[in-house]
Structures are given as structure tokens and as C-alpha cells.
Symmetry: D2
Subunit: 485 residues, 4 copies
């Protein structure tokens, strides 16, 4: 059976022996840690929905290797429809979790490697593609979650890897052995790292020959000795430790990010997918980035939640029929669907690579992600407009439950006699969560920088548009002969 | 042979006997009138490109009625790919003409009628669909251009048709005869009207029973007696009369719009496609509007021209390498491709109607068009930023050609020794044309109001999004039970 | 001596006996509570800077009653320059504290009352103005901080006060006695409430006769029996309890808001400034709101901090010379100075009221505040763009200090060999604080809703612009005679 | 008598013997040429209003040289109030003319020279200031209009003046004589040039010693032999030649711009205000630019007209009460008043220069102008939204007057039975004029590039903000010691 249930997924995580640190201390039980648990819940949703008949078409696929039914997160896109369904899967899960569910980065790494290992072999006669397909089969059959690890710490941004004062600021091979290689370095901003079974490492920039020790890609079990996880903080993270639930906003799900250190870690050869073929580092980055920029389809789903929450806030506040409120809800929807158009269009305009894998349209995937660096901020601003100031002046759940002041909360924050104060508070906290709290990390800042910062997209847009064709068209219309000047 | 050449198209127009007025006078030779001619050239491009092998896939289709190869502008969309190709055809022609080429409105009317006539028959047992298919076959075989006429003058916006002080402010049947009906009224803002062989009339709003005399749809030859065309003015229209060319900006193509008056015009029954089935008026409007909002794909093509022109202006001004200029070009492209995503996505997310016709996704088509009411304005602003003030202070072509002052123009407006002053002027005039002149009518104001004003799209967006689903998702995440309040 | 030092201010707070609740428990020592303390520090800054010679001109004034030198926060504006200096004082303190310093609301209440009590007396022959001046003298001589309390809970937004299902949803008089009145109700979103010596209550909307029991204004010592404070939560509030400092971002200052309940509180007559003169409720709201909308000058100062932090982040990240970074810094400054223009202009265009008090230009004060509901959000977005994703994935201060993982943090988050990792982390945390954390409450959501939500400003803008004059000008230019239609 | 009437101004222009070309031909009667006349009317308004008692305070001033009452356009600002009144004068005239009234550029040149000539003398012991004051007295007493001529053609933007392939691409001295100098070159984009009595020439960029032949400033009568004017075209310029009026939109006023060629023109020494003091060229540019960026106060007045026109369009269309229309009118006003805040604030924050002249705040003047490059475009877009598509599809005035089709125009473009179709057309044409036609040149493109293109303002903003102070504030709040790194 190729698909785990959510329960099986959770149990599989318990069997891992990860070295995880948070607030300066090692965490013994990662799965049940109250700050991490919601992120596990979110990832588990990718397993749960795959078993729900109504989502089967979106959440599952047929493996092109085995012919088995597999979770789409382990699938290699075989046609345009696969690409479109990937975008829809992202929106679906974003809407159901209201946060980052962390599993697309591994899917994007697998698909990018399926293209690039094939192309390396075609040029160099190597056997990376076979190795990769074997690995892929393992991932598909076990229904594993892979962390896709690209972003190096980068050190001095003005210098290439081999010129860094600290040579470990980009991950590199430090030793070659008969049975494999030893690597050192770190990967930053690793989303969902401690909820993953595997970690797939890729280079983070295009490289030249002098950087070839950095031009490596491989996969490892996440609990391989020498891999150390240091959890990042999020706004409002410790609310999850407070005992109550209401103040968390999203009481079920969350995300996490970690710094992953590779302290001289051994990788066996059968897990190595690129080794010093520096001229393919850029292609791997570009392919992964394009797929991953498409993956920000998920923010449309989170936007759905925020729009729903804003509408509910308006209703609980008793102002849902005011024309300016209705107009702001329309604007939020317009913006959110504009985002949706981007992730659908870059899929719909995809094409087949030599390996048979379908790739998204790189230009449109970058355009989509670039809008993701803007539009959620405006949707967020509008939701705060609709929510009202109460969102940031509301007393705590403990005040609501207090025998002393609870009555004042209940009395004075009731807007409609028929509606509960508590539910009004819940919606306020959800909007706070999405626009200032733990989920804002994913909905806003990660939307800005995940899968590449805005400037990275602008560089790709500049590179991918056909400016000469546009100039030709303009010249013709105003009567400038092409050869003239 | 089902496809005319551009030349045959022009000749076919000469055979029409249209009653056209401009500047208060009747025009004898419509085809060669210097103000109208560029719009004929633009429409002719839809014929010309259909014969070019490199555009065959986009510009032509196979008729689902006859199996013949036809111009896509006469085609009924048979699948998703047809819808996507329609968007690409719009961008292509926008880029090649730099203006409105006027033929999509008829295509959209045909497709909308193919759906609605079928649905009326299903309910009422009428025979409209057969009539329509006969008419369609005629249009396809003759490769005709149809004007799709929807917008009534509307009179008092607060009143339904039958309550208007002037009952003709919505087009209506004034007499029923054995052989057909007599209609009276007008249609405003008719794009490309005098370049069309046929005019297809539809109602402009949803209607109730009291308005049933207004719930009519039919098609007529454009030179049917009683149809009168009064040409609208455009910014800078008379530059086309000046003799030179350079000052026109776009020296080849343009658009036009007209008020079309129906002064008691007879329509035979076989050309009537809806007759008092008032409850379908709204559906016809919505279907046509959705298709036509998709059609604003063309503005992406016009955007291509403006981006090309801005890049050329930067080069002729000698500033193309300045980082702020390059960044503005990226921004223009990002915005233009964001538009493109909209017209691709609403096609890609299309679906099959009972008649077999494929319809675009109505929500996304409205979102696309709504972006068209904003984005071209910002692209236009950026192009003026890049062009520089010279765009609006440049002397005339006659000054350039003058033996007295031409030397000063040539000397002082030369930016680079290697580049011609005249070409710099041509580019300035093209940007002027697109942002202030005749083409600005199409690229800006028509983008705002064509296929429905912004508020019309906002109403549709409000109606088509599933707000309840979003509320459900939000409630679940913050712990509000659905039934609670 | 009319001006307290910061130390004296702190001591004066210790002498108060406030009834304050937080997390469901009463707080014994308000002044030293780690979550509240930073807000006290911020307010104390208004005392400290008044003693600094370089800020004397901005921070102090000469009382028009006593001729004594007083803190400007207790001053009644006597001329245009006073109004302009008020705006500059706001920017100064915003820049020095990076948060809301909470003292302007009382200043704005005093100034509004100085106008309205005078006008009530002029109409009704009452003696409110004398009472008020006596009170003002007390405030000035003691250098007190006043909370200005306007916002009622409002209950059902569609109903006036006297029709509310719960009559206490607007604060009202419930008993009239010989020596004063007894009031009941609550005021929400009270900024700096527990750092104040006095609380000045005003009605929150224009009223009609039926609401006259709600048309009351008065002042009370903040620790009057029956006044209960319930603290609101802020994003990341509990980081202040964690022991370290770095993770707080702003390690010195903060703000707070509270729900203030009036549980049948007695007010002596000499503290009553409006009593059932319902027709002046609207004027008091409008005057207070105009002053308070000007007060959002402070956000320009907070913007200064965020711009400085973004520039430092760019430097610590090693990218400060990239052209796109420089351009974003320019944009942030442009937007921030655009805000500054608003608060200067509404002061510069002020005028003298009958009482002698100078009032800001109401239209421009509303325009200014309306920009405050938009511009800080965009500055915030740009700062996150510049900061990079590290801002939300950074491990905790405890990780940095950890003997186990501290070395990895230090190694891998060092961007430049010459710069300390810890300082890079400090700047990231400051930007987090301002855009997601406790200070985001003030810089973003309070900017949205404080002094009235956006729609409140739009209503005032609609009311204050002279549309008829604009129509007259337009008609004249296009030749429409005024009387024609 | 120091102030001319409008009539006297017109007569004074008739006495000039200007060499003006348009459409390749010399114009004999400049004053009565139908394309130029509206611009003369607009400039004449600056004379007319100065005689109207209600505008005396704004339109006139007391000369600090003679003590005479003078037109403010010839005044040297003596205090902050003068600066503020200048902004108000700009808005007033913008509202009364709906276009560029062309006289501020000379005022700004006079004020800038009053500062810089003083500073040159202070350094070099020259006598420019006395010369300038004599010249100023002449201008004030005769109430002359001066063209302020700064923008050189610039040739290759990457090269300084003395390295240009064509040395005349910056205006320069070509010969020094006992009685004066001979100059050669051109000035582009000269607003109102042929309506001016005088032309004041200034350098256009900061210069080094090698460019000293270009570092010159002087004034000449506009009809000095060798000065040649070539008129620039504007969108829709020739509508003024058509005989009717309605289609012009603004039937009274307009603007114009010209290329001014200096074909070896002699300047006597007493008219030379800078001669090779290259190190002051930059200061003169910066001072003039700051004043002139303030002058874009006029666009607020043009915005008033456009808002009035949009409101009238909504009324004539019968939709003025729709909530989305009202909201758009509010937005237009909000944006327009935001602009107003900028021109008031940069005046209010002005300061005294060594010469005694008051200068605007350079940072805020640049911020103001930068907003002028954006906000009018959005106001324009909103006005087109409100106007409706009719604005660009409306038939001509000749159609309206036609005995054949006039009845159809009247019937079908009537929206309300009580309102005239003709007036609806007039308003449509006015909006067309302001957003696409001759006035769009001033309201949009000139707003973009006049007084310096957007990037020029960004460079000044970067230079004038105190980034170090902002960094200091940020460091202090997050605990970074200043000296640390």
C-alpha cells in the first residue's frame, strides 16, 4: 500500500530520532511538543485528505513508475492536468489548514531532480537518473515526506561560494570516500524540517567550475547522524504553551521553520544526484524555483480562510451589510482570485521536458510568485480594516473564563444579542493569527521570501520576457524599419 | 472556401451600402475614409493572419458543423484548448495591431447564443437553436465579421426598460408581423460597427416579464435599411486627416466606435434567436459578458507594444541601462503578464455547457476583466515615465520636414549620434498614441468600460465566490461550531 | 514646579491604587509588571524629553492660564505654531520610543473640551468652561497624564444608544445626586489607561434628544472606586516575560490598551463638563477626532525607526548597495514624508475657535489619518522585503546563548566577518516587533482604527470638501451655465 | 502702476515681435492663433485675478524693494506665509483655468536667482545680486511674465556638457564681448514661452570646471533677435481649429510648450546673473527645482476641476447616489487633498536664506512633486471610471448640430428627462480633455516630467533624508551600541 493515513504518518515520525533544539534545549518528544504539534497536524492533513473520496482526484495520482495510486505529493507531473491539480491541491490544503502545510517543497525538489538528473546523464553519460528513480520509487511506496533543502546561509552576498571567508557558508563536500561523500554546511529557513522523513539537498545558486565542491545534490533520512535542527521562533509561538486554545487563533494548525546544520554528514553514493556537475546547478535552482513559485497556490487557500474570517468578523460586529464592508470583501476576493489565476496559468501553460516530466511556465510562475509578495499584504490590511481595533485590544481567554472579569468581557464585547462573545473573540484571534501571529509568518513574510525574494522573481521576469519581439512589434506600427539605426 | 483573405474582406465591405455619419455628414466611401481606414486595416488583420502558416493553430479551427477549416473568430469553442487559443489569438492580434481589432465581440455573441438558444429550446420547446446553427453555418462559410450589439442607451439608470420615459431607450419590438418583427432603439459604443457584415443584437440586462418586449435577440446584415451609424470621436482622430503619418503614432491601425440607431427595422423570423423569453435575458448577458471579459486578452498584446515602445524610447533617449529604467520595464512586464494569467486561467478553468459549447470560468473572467480596468493605466503611466516629457512637447512632423526649422528639430532632438531623430519622434508619437491618442481610447477607457464597467465585474465577483465555504473553513480553524450562534 | 521628571512620574504612578486585571488575575504592582513596564517607559519619555534643552521648544509651552512653563501635552494650542509643534512632538517621540507613547489622547481631549465647553456656555449660559479651566490648571500644575476615553462598546451598530438591548453599551448617567452623578458603562481600546493619572470621558457619537443620558463628559482620577481595567493582549506580549531581551525587538518601550469598566462610578459636579447637552456631542466628537487624527504624526516617527532598521538590516545582510534595496529605502522615505506632510499641513492650515483655542483643519486632519491607514502597511511590507526571511525563521536568544547550539547560530547567521551575528539578530527582531509583534499593534492596526476607522475619515472627507465649488469650476470651463438644467 | 490688467497684458503681447513656428510655418499673429490663444487666456488669468478683491491676499504682495503692491508672480518670498500663499495661488489658478497657466516658472526662477546671485557675490565679490535686483525691479514695475528656461536638450545623457559630440546640446557662451556675451543652444519643453515678455535662462545640471562655459544664467526680452520658438504638439490640439467649441472640452483655456532655439544671441552684461561660476550651477538647479516642485500645487486645482466634472458626469448619467460612485468621489478628494498637504507642508516648513529670501523645505517639495507623478494618474483613472465609456464614443458637436442625425444624438444620449444632452456631452468632453486631450498633457505627462522626472525627485529624497539619525534611533531601541561593529 502506497499511501499512509494521518495516524500512520504520526507514528512514523515517532520512530525518527531527530536532534532538535528549541529555546537552547534539545527536544525529546518532537511530535507532542505543543509548539511543533500544530505543524505536524498541518502536514498530516496531506495524508488525511488523500483518503477522502471527494478529494481523490486532486490529492492522489497514479505513479508513472509503478502504476500504483500514490499521494500526489510524491508524484512526478506527467501532463498539464497534473500541474493544474497541483495548484488546486495547494489551494485546498491552504484553505483547510490556514497555514503552511510544508509538504510541497519536497514534491518540487523531486520533480526538479527528475528533469536535471536526466539532463546531466544526457550530457555526461552518468547514471543519476536511474539512482533518482530508485529513490523516487522508495519515496512513493513509503509515502514519505521530504524536506527540500536549498537555501544556504550565503555569508557575504557579494562573493561566490569558494571565496567566502567561511567556506561552510555554502554546503559542500569535504571528503570523498569509496562508499560515498561527507558534507558540511547548513540550510536555513527549512520549512517543516522536523516533520519530514527525508531531506533532499540542492545547491542554491548557479555556479562556475571553481565552486564545483558546492555543486552537489543528495537525499538523506532526516535523522542521519550529524544533522542538527534548530527551531526558528515565530510571532506568538508561545501562546501554544499557555494551556487555553482560543488565543492561538488557529487552534489546530501551524507551521515551523528550522536551521538545519550538516556537521560532517555521510551520504552514500546511491543517494547522490549531482556531484560537481557545476554547470547544472543553475538549471536545478531554476527548475526547483519555478515549481516552488507555483506552489504558492497555497496562499490562495489561506486567503480563502482570511476572507471567510473577515466576513464573519463583519457579521459578528454587526456591520456586514454596510456597502463599504461589502466592497472590501469583493476587493479581497478579487485580489485572491487574481493570485489564483497566476498559479493556474503557469500550470496550464506548462510543457514537457526531455525526461518526460511536465514543467510549469517559468515566466508565469515567477509572475505568480511576485504577486504573492504583494497581494496577501493588501488582503491582510483589508481584513484588519474589517475586523476593527478589537483584534488587538482584546483581553485574554483567561479573562473571558475568569469568575471576576469574565462577566465584563461577556457583557461589553457582545455586539449582537443573538451572537456569542466567545465566537466573536475566536474570529478576532484568527485574524490576528493570520495577520500578526504565527500564521502571518507564512501568509506574509514567507509569501515575501519563500521560493525566492521579490528581486529574484524580477530578475527571472527580465530574463524570460521576449523584449526583442515587443520592440519589433512597436517599430513596425510606428514605421521604424528594423535595420535603420 | 470558408476563409476570406484580407483583400477579399476589404472588397466585401465595398459591396455594403451602410448609412454612416461623421461630423454631421454622411460618408460615401466608408472603406477609404482616412479616419475609418486604419480600423478596417486592423480588422483585416484577423483575415490576413489566418492564412499565415505560423499562426494557423491559433487563428483557425475546424467547424464542428461542417468540418471545414474556418477562421477562429467564427468558431464555437469545442474544448478547453479552443478557449485558451482564443486568449492567445487576442494577445497576438493586439500585439500586431496595437489597437482594438474589433472582431471578438461577434465571436462572443455567437458563442453565447449557441448556449442560450439551446437552453431556451430545452425549456420552451422552441427551435431557436436550429435557426442559430443555420445562421452560424452561413457566417462560417462566408467568413463574416459580426458586430455584437448589447449596450442600450439606458436612459434613466434607476428604471427598468418598460418604465423609461422614452420607451426606446432600450431596443424593443414595436410590431410583430407574419414574416418577422419590427424593432426600434439604439445600441451605443458599437466597436467596429461599420467594418462588419452582420450585426447581432442582444438585450443588455436581466429582465422580468413586464420587459418582455425588450427581451429579444436577432441578427441582421449591417446594411439593412433603417440601420444608421453615427461615428464616435476619438482623441487625436483628425491627425489621420493631416496628410503626414508620423504624428499618428500608430501609422497603420486604429479602432472606431459608433452609435447604431434602429429606426423601425424589419427582422425576418429566421434571424430571431430570442423573442420575449425574458427569463433568459440575464443568462445571455452573463454568458456574453463572461466571454467578452475574457476577450480583453487583447490588451496584453497592446501592452506588449507599449512595453516594446517604452524600451525603445529608453534606448533612443540613451538611458536604457539605468537601473530605475530597467526596473520599470520589469514592472510593466510583470503587470502585463499578470493580465495574461487572468485570460489564460479563465479559459483553462472552462467547462462544457449543455449545448456542447465550452464556456469560460465566469468568476475568473470577471477577475481578469477587472484587472484590465486597472493594470493598463499603470503600464501607461510607467511608459510615460520612461518616455520623458518630449512625448508631449514634440513639434509636428511638418516642423521636422520644414526647410526652415527642420534643422533645429534634427539637431536638438538627437540624443545619440548613431540614432535618427525621426525614429525617436516616431516612438514618442506611438507612446502618445497609446496613452493619450486614438489607441488610448482602446487601451485605457475601453479597458475600463468595455464588456462592462468595473462595478459590473465587482457585482459578478460577489455573486460567484463561495463565501459560505470560506466562512466554514475559518470557523473550523478557530473552533466555532457551525450551528452555534 | 509644573513639570515632573520621568522618575517623579513613575513614583506618582506607584501612589495610584488601580484595579487592573490581566490573564484573569488582578495585578498588584502595575508599574513593575514586565508586560506593562515598557509602556510606562514610553510614557515616561514624554516627561524626560521635556527637560532636555534641545527639545524644549517642541516639548514645552507657556500656559495661557498661569504663564508657567508646562509640558506641551497639557497645553491648549494658542496659535498655528503650537499646532505645528504638536505634530513635531509626535514624530520626535515616535522616533525615540518606536511605539505608542500614549499621552496625546489626553492632550486632544483637553483641547477639544476647551472649545466645546466654551460653546455650550455661549448657548446655554452654563459654567462648564470655568470648571474646565480650573481642571486644566490642576492638570498643568501637577503635570498629569490623562487618558481620553471616547470609544463605547457600541453593541448593535445599527441602533442609537437609547435603543440598545443592553443600555450600558454606551456609557451613561444612571443617577443624579446633589453632589454629582453616577455613571455606568465602559470604554474600549483605552490606550495607556493604566499609566494615566486621570481619565477624561467623552461621548462617542453625535446624539439626539432621546440619547441625552448618554451625552455626558467628565474627568476622574484613574483610581476612582468602581473603575476597573482589563488589559488587552498584544501579539508577542509574553516575550517580555521570558527573561532575555533580544527577542522582544524593542527592548525598552511598548504600548498597551485596556477595556475600562465604569461600574456605577460617582462623579462630582466640578468634574462634569457636559451634561445632557446632546446637541454638542457631535461637535465634541468631531473636534476631538480632528485633533487625534493629527496626533498620528507619531507614526512618522515610528516609520523613521523602521526605515532605520531596514537600512541596518540591509547593511547587516551585506546588500545595502544593491540598487533595488536603495530604491526601496527611498520609497519608504517618500511614503513616510508624505505622511509627515499631512500632519504638518493640517496644523499649518489651522484656525482660531471662539474660545481662543487653535483647531487643526478638519479636512486635512482626516486626510492625514486616512493615509495613516494605508502607508504604514506598505512601509512595513517594504521593510520585510529588505529584512529577508531570516526575520521569521531566526532561533531564539536562548539558542544564541546556548553552549550547545550557540556556535551554529553564530557561525551560520554571520553575514559579514566584521559584523556581529547578535546585532543582526537584534535588528531582525526589531523589524519583527514593528511589523508582526507588540509594536505592530500600534504601527499597523492602531494606525488603521485609532482615532476612527478608515470609513469614519471617508465620511468626514465627503462632508468637508466643497463639491459645489468644484462643480461650478468644471461647468464654467466647459460652457455649462449654472442655472441651465 | 505695478499691476497690468488682463487686457493690458494681451496688448503688451501684441507689441512683441516673436519668431514662432508651428506645423512648419511661421505664425504672424501669435496672440490670436486659435491653438495658442487659450494658453494666453490662461496666463491672462494671473493678471485678472490679481485685480479681484476676494483674491487680493493670495494674488498680490508688497514688493520688498519698492514697497509697491505687485502681482505675487513677480514677488520674492519674504516669509513663510508668502510661501504658503504661493501654493494656494497655484491651486486657485489651476481650478479657475483647468490647465497650466504658465507663469510660475518665471516666479521660481526669480526667487532662485535672488538666493544664488547673493551667494555667488558672497564668495566671489561679484555684483550679480545688485544686477538681479535692478532686473527684478523692472519685472515687478512692468508686471512682466518671465519664462524660466532650464532644460537643455542634453544629447548623450551619459556625458557632461563639454564632452557632448554636439557642443550645443547644452546652452553655452560662444563669444565674450565688451558689452556682453553671445550664447548658443536650446531649451526644450518651454511652458508658456510665447506668452512671455522675458526669458530667464539657467543651467540644467550641476557642473564642474570643464563645463564652465555652460555655467551661465541670464535674462532677455523674449523677442530678442536670434531666439526662435518651435511650438510643440499636444493631443487633440487641432480641435481648436474646428470652428465649434464643445469638442474642445475646456472651451476657454489651455497651455503650450515650445522648443526655444538660441541661434547666437547677444546678452548685455547687465542681464547676466551667473558667468562661469560653475560651482553654483548645482545650487541654482536645486533651488529652482525645489520652488518649482512646490509649484505643482496647481495640479490640486486642476484636480478640483476633474473631481467636479466627475461628480457632474455622475449626475448627468443619473448614478450620483450609487455607493460605489460616492466612494470613488471620496477617493479622488482624498488623493487630491493628499497632494495639497504636500505643497502646504513644504511651504510651512520653509526657511530664510542668507539673501533674505524664504526657501521651501527641499525634502518635502520633492516628496510633494513625487506624489504629483502618481496621484493625478489615479484621479484621472477614477474620473474615467465614473464618466463611463461614452466619454470616448461620443459623436462630434457637428453631429449634435446636424439636422439629420442631431435628433438621434439628442434622443439616445439623454439620461434624464430634465437634463440637457448637450450639457452631458460638455462634461464628457471636459473629462476627455483632462485625461486624454490637451489638458492631459499638463495634468498627467507634465505632472510626471515637469520640474524634474520622478527619478530626479528620488535622488533628492535619498540625499535629503537623515538616514543616520534613523539608524541611531533603531539601534538604540534594539540594544545595538553605536560603536560596536
Amino acid at each position: 500500500m502506497a499511501m499512509m493515513t494521518a495516524k500512520e504518518y504520526e507514528e512514523s515520525l515517532r520512530r525518527l530520532n531527530l536532534e532538535v533544539y528549541m529555546f537552547g534545549k534539545r527536544i525529546d518528544n518532537v511530535v507532542d511538543h505543543p509548539i511543533i504539534r500544530p505543524s505536524m497536524n498541518a502536514l498530516a492533513k496531506t495524508y488525511e485528505l488523500a483518503h477522502r473520496p471527494e478529494f481523490e482526484d486532486i490529492m492522489t495520482a497514479t505513479s508513472h513508475i509503478t502504476g500504483n495510486k500514490i499521494n500526489r505529493f510524491t508524484h512526478i507531473h506527467q501532463n498539464i492536468q497534473d500541474l493544474v491539480k497541483k495548484s488546486k491541491m495547494g489551494r485546498l490544503l491552504g484553505r483547510e489548514t490556514g497555514c503552511c502545510f510544508q509538504r510541497c517543497v519536497g514534491m518540487d525538489a523531486l520533480n526538479a531532480l527528475s528533469i536535471v538528473t536526466f539532463d546531466i546523464d544526457a550530457k555526461h553519460g552518468t547514471k543519476y537518473y536511474d539512482r533518482f528513480i530508485n529513490y523516487l520509487k522508495y519515496v512513493q511506496e513509503k509515502d514519505l515526506t521530504c524536506d527540500g533543502a536549498m537555501t544556504d546561509p550565503k555569508g557575504d552576498r557579494g562573493l561566490p561560494p569558494h571565496k567566502q571567508p567561511d567556506p561552510d557558508h555554502y554546503l559542500r563536500v569535504v571528503k570523498e570516500r569509496d562508499d560515498g561523500i561527507v558534507v558540511r554546511g547548513a540550510k536555513a529557513h527549512q520549512t517543516g524540517a522536523v516533520n519530514s522523513h527525508e531531506i533532499i539537498v540542492m545547491p542554491t545558486i548557479a555556479m562556475r567550475e571553481a565552486d564545483k565542491d558546492y555543486a552537489i545534490s543528495f537525499a538523506l533520512p532526516s535523522d542521519t547522524p550529524g544533522i542538527i535542527y534548530i527551531m526558528g521562533r515565530q510571532s506568538c509561538d508561545t501562546r501554544k504553551l499557555e494551556g487555553g486554545h482560543l488565543d492561538q487563533g488557529n487552534i489546530l494548525y501551524g507551521g515551523h521553520e528550522a536551521l538545519v546544520v550538516f556537521d560532517d554528514v555521510f551520504v552514500p553514493w546511491d543517494r547522490v544526484f549531482m556531484y560537481k556537475e557545476f554547470e547544472f546547478a543553475g538549471q536545478l535552482v531554476e527548475k526547483f524555483a519555478a515549481y516552488h513559485r507555483q506552489s504558492y497556490a497555497c496562499k490562495v487557500g489561506v486567503g480563502d480562510v482570511l476572507i471567510g474570517a473577515a466576513q464573519l468578523a463583519a457579521e459578528y460586529n454587526g456591520v456586514a451589510r454596510a456597502s463599504h464592508i461589502k466592497d472590501k470583501i469583493v476587493e479581497m476576493n478579487h485580489l485572491n482570485e487574481t493570485l489564483y489565476c497566476g498559479c493556474i496559468a503557469c500550470a496550464s501553460e506548462g510543457h514537457k521536458e526531455p525526461s518526460g516530466t511536465y514543467s510549469v511556465n517559468t515566466l508565469l510562475a515567477n509572475v505568480h510568485k511576485h504577486n504573492v509578495t504583494r497581494i496577501p499584504y493588501e488582503i491582510s490590511r483589508l481584513s484588519q480594516d474589517i475586523a476593527g481595533g478589537l483584534m488587538v485590544t482584546l483581553p485574554s481567554e483567561k479573562d473571558l473564563r475568569s469568575p471576576v472579569v469574565g462577566k465584563w468581557i461577556n457583557k461589553y464585547f457582545r455586539a449582537h444579542s443573538g451572537l456569542s462573545t466567545e465566537n466573536r473573540m475566536r474570529i478576532m484571534r484568527l485574524i490576528e493569527n493570520l495577520t500578526l501571529g504565527t500564521a502571518a509568518v507564512g501568509y506574509l513574510t514567507e509569501s515575501m521570501h519563500g521560493a525566492g525574494s521579490p528581486q529574484a522573481q524580477r530578475i527571472m521576469i527580465a530574463r524570460k520576457v521576449n523584449l526583442e519581439e515587443k520592440k519589433r512589434a512597436a517599430k513596425k506600427l510606428c514605421g521604424i524599419s528594423e535595420s535603420e539605426d
